[in-house]
């Protein structure tokens, strides 16, 4: 034990940081392994998530071209710790953009962090190109509203109120402002799917959405919607790490109960 600690000290890494590094490397190993397995043909069974089931055929239920599909990528952006949440929103956007192209719905994407603007636009453009309809892409379909979250919510409420929105998906990093948009959508009878990661926001997602994606579920979009191998592998790796954590907690509880 002491040898390890000394070694760590010599290499300039604190014991806790070392522990985290080990967790990271273990997860990475899991991921490489599961990703390979999925690529070789293994398909993990997935717990049904109604949110993604609905999202998969979101606009199919309400096809009437000319009306609006609203997608929010969250009140946060990339470059910070909420990058992962934003990625979840982008996954959903990819899928929804293709559906919108196929059904002729008008797509409005709203963002609150301008660093997302080029990425959201690229995602849209690629979707239009993949569907062989590049001339349908309009960069102004992606609307930057304002960096302040309340101003963003006010702008999105305006979209929901006045732009004949038939369905709305809001997945990403959100705070309390979520309920302003979600409840406005519910009042207008918009079909809604939402998801957020922060526990404080989840009650609002639950209360105002038709289908809610809670916490970790938002990150599973790549696996559920597009069956991307690395995402399916990643879901398996997450579950393995989850099992490891559960075992670690049980072990820790047992040790503290018995020894203390």
């Amino acid at each position: 034990m002491e040898v390890i600690l000394n070694l760590l000290e010599a290499s300039g890494i604190e014991p806790l940081a070392a522990l985290m590094l080990v967790v990271l490397l273990v997860f990475f190993a899991f991921l490489l392994f599961t990703d390979r397995r999925v690529r070789l043909g293994f398909r993990p069974p997935l717990r049904p998530l109604p949110g993604f089931t609905l999202l998969n055929d979101f606009v199919g239920q309400a096809v009437e071209s000319g009306r609006t599909l609203h997608v929010s990528l969250g009140a946060k952006g990339i470059g910070g710790a909420s990058t992962a949440d934003t990625m979840a929103g982008l996954m959903a956007l990819e899928r929804l953009a293709e559906q919108a192209v196929a059904t002729g719905l008008r797509l409005v994407v709203t963002i609150s962090d301008p660093s997302l603007l080029p990425i959201a636009q690229d995602t849209l453009r690629r979707s239009y190109e993949r569907r062989g309809y590049p001339q349908g892409y309009d960069p102004l379909q992606v609307r930057y509203i304002a960096p302040d979250t309340i101003a963003y919510a006010a702008g999105v409420m305006g979209v929901l109120e006045r732009e004949d929105v038939v369905a709305s998906a809001m997945i990403g990093g959100f705070g309390d402002e979520f309920l302003l948009m979600g409840e406005k959508g519910a009042q207008k009878g918009v079909q809604q799917i939402g998801g957020a990661s922060s526990p404080g926001t989840l009650p609002f997602v639950y209360a105002s959405m038709d289908e809610a994606l809670l916490g970790e579920e938002i990150y599973a979009g790549g696996g559920y919607l597009s069956s991307k191998p690395s995402h399916l592998g990643s879901l398996m790796a997450q579950d393995w790490l989850r099992s490891a954590i559960i075992l670690a907690i049980i072990l820790g509880v047992a040790i503290r109960t018995l020894i203390l």
Binding site: L16, A17, M20, V23, L24, R43, P44, P45, L46, R47, I78, G79, G80, A81, S82, T83, A84, T86, S115, L117, P118, I119, Q121, I145, A146, P147, D148, I150, A151, A154, G155, G158, E161, D176, P199, G200, L202, P203, F204, Y206, A207, E217, A220, G223, L235, M236, Q238, D239, R242, I245, I246, A248, I249, I250, G252, V253, I255, R256, T257, L260
Partner: protein, 217 residues
């Protein structure tokens, strides 16, 4: 005079927003657009005054030799602007990739150091904290069971493997049922918890109308 005029403007804008509760109307719409516009302008002013000038342009202008490395973010920022044109768009991918690289690392760091470490550590509670402390023991048991259950609730790929025994499957099923109870309690409690802060906000606005503007109170 300035104060009085300001109070009137603020009060009228406040009433314009409250009128939205009845239904959407031109007054609210005006207030909404004014707000979004001013928030946008303000953010840019802050970005210029507190970020671009002191962290980029001032150091570069005063001492370009020492701060040569600031040319890199300047370049990356300009490349991002290149995304505006389709023909030059791919240059911008470099800046976007930079943002994703840093963001991905911060997400990992935040997850490991920010939450995982502390939450797992705090979950390891002794179930027998000491003699005559039955209440704590029960609390700790609830905390441990609730944490494990709600964690198990989120399993995505349960049971696809042959190794999954009936016992383990049963434990997982039980875990996720219990976990769902705890998640529901959490949602209810956090909803109510959010009410307090927002009610204070509403009280503050109405107090402003009644006291600063109408001077009733």
């Amino acid at each position: 005079m300035r104060e009085l005029l300001g109070t009137w403007v603020a009060a009228l804008l406040t009433l314009m927003v409250f009128s939205y509760l009845i239904s959407d109307n031109p007054l609210y719409r005006l207030a909404e657009h004014l707000f979004v516009g001013s928030a946008l302008g303000y953010a840019i002013v802050v970005a210029i005054q507190d970020v671009l000038l002191p962290r980029l342009f001032t150091p570069l202008a005063q001492d370009p030799v020492t701060y040569w490395h600031l040319l890199i973010p300047l370049l990356l920022g300009l490349l991002l602007l290149a995304k505006g044109r389709v023909s030059t768009a791919w240059f911008g991918n470099v800046s976007v990739a930079f943002l994703f690289g840093v963001g991905g690392a911060l997400a990992i760091g935040g997850a490991l150091v920010g939450s995982l470490l502390y939450q797992v550590r705090d979950s390891m509670l002794p179930l027998l904290p000491g003699e005559g402390d039955g209440g704590r023991a029960i609390d700790n048991l609830i905390l441990v069971v609730g944490t494990l259950g709600s964690l198990a609730y989120f399993y995505f790929t349960v049971g696809g493997e042959r190794r999954t025994s009936g016992l383990r499957g049963g434990a997982l099923r039980l875990g996720s049922i219990v976990g769902k109870w705890f998640i529901m309690i959490t949602l209810g409690a956090l909803f109510a918890n959010a009410v307090m802060a927002r009610v204070s906000l509403l009280v503050g606005r109405l107090h402003f109308l009644l006291s600063d503007w109408l001077r009733i109170v």
